[in-house]
Symmetry: C2
Subunit: 107 residues, 2 copies
């Protein structure tokens, strides 16, 4: 459970997730992926990055970089569909984070 640095194993993984969400533009990107994901739940059509990127005032290289960070933190999956990139939320991971953050007292 504890490593030699006094930091819990899971803590590092979780810190990485939070770091991925810690930049406003990246967080907004994440929220838009979630929103599309929820909207297209029935069709399971995923979310085109080029559409999202129009609404964020940052260039394509930056978007690419941010997506990699979200992906590296296991918050999203990405997949190439021909010319386009499709992003999907990793629901399992998000639920895990939610559990960890939840306070469980009886107030």
């Amino acid at each position: 459970m504890w490593n030699n640095c006094g930091v819990c194993m899971d803590t590092k993984k979780m810190a990485k997730v939070f770091k991925a969400l810690s930049n406003p533009n990246r967080l907004e990107l994440y929220f838009q992926i979630v929103k599309k994901h929820e909207a297209s739940y029935e069709t399971d059509s995923g979310c085109l990055i080029c559409e999202i990127s129009k609404s964020l005032n940052i260039g394509a290289p930056t978007i690419s970089h941010h997506l990699k960070e979200l992906s590296n933190a296991d918050l999203i999956f990405t997949e190439r569909k021909g010319k386009y990139l499709v992003a999907r939320v990793n629901e399992e991971m998000v639920n895990e984070v939610n559990e960890l953050l939840k306070l469980n007292n009886e107030s």
Copy 2:
């Protein structure tokens, strides 16, 4: 709802919270405050920082700095009790973050 940078107002606030939780040592510090908070729920005795800091391998100035970040992000409250500093979780904020992170589809 949206500002001129294409970033949602709440997004900045949330990004700040996630940034506060994005460093492993700071996250561990936060978790320990939560743990103590939950354990001492009945007595409402709070959590002494000097106790926690023994289990993290970082110096006092760094702890002080990290506490300020958690506090700045409204994740915790701190209060001086004589010689000691007592930390408490801001339950309202944590619940808010949890709501925002929660996925609401029917899977």
